[in-house]
Symmetry: C3
Subunit: 345 residues, 3 copies
Amino acid sequence: MSQPFYALTELVARLGGQIQGDATTQITQVATLEHAGPGQIAFLANSKYRKQLEATAASAVIVTEADAEATQLPCIISNNPYSYFAKLSALLNPPIKYAAGIHPSAVIGEGATISPSVYIAAHVVIGAGAKIGSDSVIMAGCSVGAGTVVGDNARLYPNVTIYHNCQIGHNFIAHSGAVIGSDGFGLAMEAGRWLKIPQIGRVVIGDDVEVGANTTIDRGALDDTVIEDDVKLDNQIQVAHNVRIGAHTAIAGCVGIAGSSVIGRYCQIGGSAMILGHLQIADKSVISAGTLISKTVREAGTYTAIYPFSETHEWRKNAVHLRRLDEMFARIKKLEDELASSKAK
Amino acid sequence: MSQPFYALTELVARLGGQIQGDATTQITQVATLEHAGPGQIAFLANSKYRKQLEATAASAVIVTEADAEATQLPCIISNNPYSYFAKLSALLNPPIKYAAGIHPSAVIGEGATISPSVYIAAHVVIGAGAKIGSDSVIMAGCSVGAGTVVGDNARLYPNVTIYHNCQIGHNFIAHSGAVIGSDGFGLAMEAGRWLKIPQIGRVVIGDDVEVGANTTIDRGALDDTVIEDDVKLDNQIQVAHNVRIGAHTAIAGCVGIAGSSVIGRYCQIGGSAMILGHLQIADKSVISAGTLISKTVREAGTYTAIYPFSETHEWRKNAVHLRRLDEMFARIKKLEDELASSKAK
Amino acid sequence: MSQPFYALTELVARLGGQIQGDATTQITQVATLEHAGPGQIAFLANSKYRKQLEATAASAVIVTEADAEATQLPCIISNNPYSYFAKLSALLNPPIKYAAGIHPSAVIGEGATISPSVYIAAHVVIGAGAKIGSDSVIMAGCSVGAGTVVGDNARLYPNVTIYHNCQIGHNFIAHSGAVIGSDGFGLAMEAGRWLKIPQIGRVVIGDDVEVGANTTIDRGALDDTVIEDDVKLDNQIQVAHNVRIGAHTAIAGCVGIAGSSVIGRYCQIGGSAMILGHLQIADKSVISAGTLISKTVREAGTYTAIYPFSETHEWRKNAVHLRRLDEMFARIKKLEDELASSKAK
């Protein structure tokens, strides 16, 4: 595969920005400052890595105006080098194309509607009455349940499972092992045994959503589980039944969101965080990695609960007192009282 | 699909309870108080949501005797509205039926015994000598290993994997991506390299067990990993080798249980909790979400270890002292001693 | 299947060690001290379980010289009974053999190179130009992407997914549901919407690596994600893009490693630990279960951050003060100052 190439002039014609230096420099690929070579363009988003700028073997760099002075290399100047790089990389690395068609081993249910531009790979199963929108790609071993609607330009990587009667918007990406529409965890105890509560809601997903590998999104118990537009979910996230995730929210790997919680728009949730059930998280909240959110967050802000690590013997010495904090507090109070009363005398 | 409907009289004839109001009211579906409409029945399990009772557009509600006074709607009175609702929903929403049969693309190993009432979907693989009990449904892309026995009335959603020589009881439900019988994490270090310890135990699962999407249960190293009757596992739970989970225990999503731990009967474990290895957890223990259990729990109780979250700048100010708790404690002690000795003078 | 058997003499001839007692004792299988029966050999790695040695019904035991005095049973004496047991178990329990061949339902892409000794099961898909090394076993429903190279003697359990252009060494084991090469979580925000950053790096995996069930390893954004030789990953681990894991490191279940972190060689990371992004972890570091590592670890050591659990009412009483630690610290300081000044008078 010979990579296409672009002169810097062509790039700025398509993507904007100003050129500094040789505008005919030809670019075939993006790379990191550290590993870039001839024909490659790197970016500097943070001035604290200027040193890498000096050492790079890239043919050109994307920088802010402020950082442009720090390099002799041909530059594209942008006020957001990182998003510029994202667009440039997307131009140089378009998604792999698949010729339309349905592999003969795929099994398509009765009444399913598959747009003629769709590619369906080997061993896929599409349920009765399902719909797959135009230009979508369903890779090997995926299963799409009966009555589920997937929008245009979807990309399901191998071995994705979507249950029945779910609704998925356009430009959906699901990575391998993702499961959408599995039963929520609904149980009632009676006479010492669990009764299963049928999960009759759906999963409803907006446009431009990406779901990472082995992430699971349960269907609603009665109402739906809802993922709004432009939500980005990393790998191994668990979204329980009746959760709602607001548009443009991004969630890192291994996060768990318990049932019926409502995450606002433009939130960012760090890896391995945990949101308990029936909570609201305000728009634009930032939750640190590893933080358990146990109460509703009413105001945007940055929230954290991380126990700082130490060498184990240090940790042990200190952690033992966590079970005595109330006592410590009482003893401080008592000291204060005694000191006050001894002064009063 | 026209939904079946039932008059309240028919419902109480089948499920018990008393009617208050118009006993001929016809019910087609369950719904939440908030979203119910005509023909739908909702429930009130907790009096603190009585306000929703006033506003609901449901045709009828399931309530306790105490709450019945708070509504003019036709009611079914039950002492456990939630489990009543569970049974009623199961009546109105029976599992989807699949006609018996084996899809021609399925591959059935030599000597496998498949009950004639079983449905086996496309691209399933059943290993040599495996047994699938009557009325079971094995959906697309599942793999059942050689010699594994699955009881009657099982339901494996698409892309479930069960390894060889496992034993699964009746009424088993496994959601997509669940993996049962994978090797436990058994390693011995010798001369600077890891030796793999063959995992020759099995996974043995009782009756009425449900396993969530992408949950993993490892086979035993030598003895078996055991999941007793009526255990309910949510999504993305990791059960390591030689764990035993007692009957009627329910475990929420993202929990990890390390090797050889024994969880009692009727325990409830919150999401993202972690149980270290070689521990015992007493029957009827309740473990809060996000709590790491590092020692055996000998008595039933509710156990918690959650670091409370704050705004990040607040957290930072306080968390730094976690590494100084031992010092703080010593300083309090010293103050007490000094004050005592100054008083003594 | 009749199990092969070995006399103790044959075992020590193959695996080393000294015999104490009847050297003709025949062994067919390994077992735990607790459950071993006739024909089975157990091991005692830790003297504190000597009691089990007295009670065992095993035909022989593997012990250290020091523990040999505590039993009348025939023994194999080894200075590392656990690794001896590992090798003995591997001898008695060799991996299941699969006859070479490609199941007719498997789909092999154009230009793929499959060694003639490979076994490829039903419903497998191998992408164009991929290579599978000799003696490898690819089980049902696996998907290997275009251009990916898998070394000799690999074993992919059912429903493993490897994306395109990855490189995997010899003796690779991947358990069901593992996903290798999925896109890293790379996003740039522009004008209120997320732009996806193409993930054009690969996953490169060395020799003798094992990956647990439902573990995910993302491909690099620009450079590669790298797993060195003899790394052992348990189930449900998330390895983000551009992580490097050093040789001989073992990581327990449910761990998350965020982007670009570099884990040293011979590290051990406990279950549910979390490593934030862009950190370095020194060779031979030990990270306790449940511990979040938020800063680079420059020196080998054992590191912990676990909040000790209590009964919930106890926890609540103490935890409330975690938000007042700074205040407590200030009050202790003030008391000290006051006492000092009162003494000074």
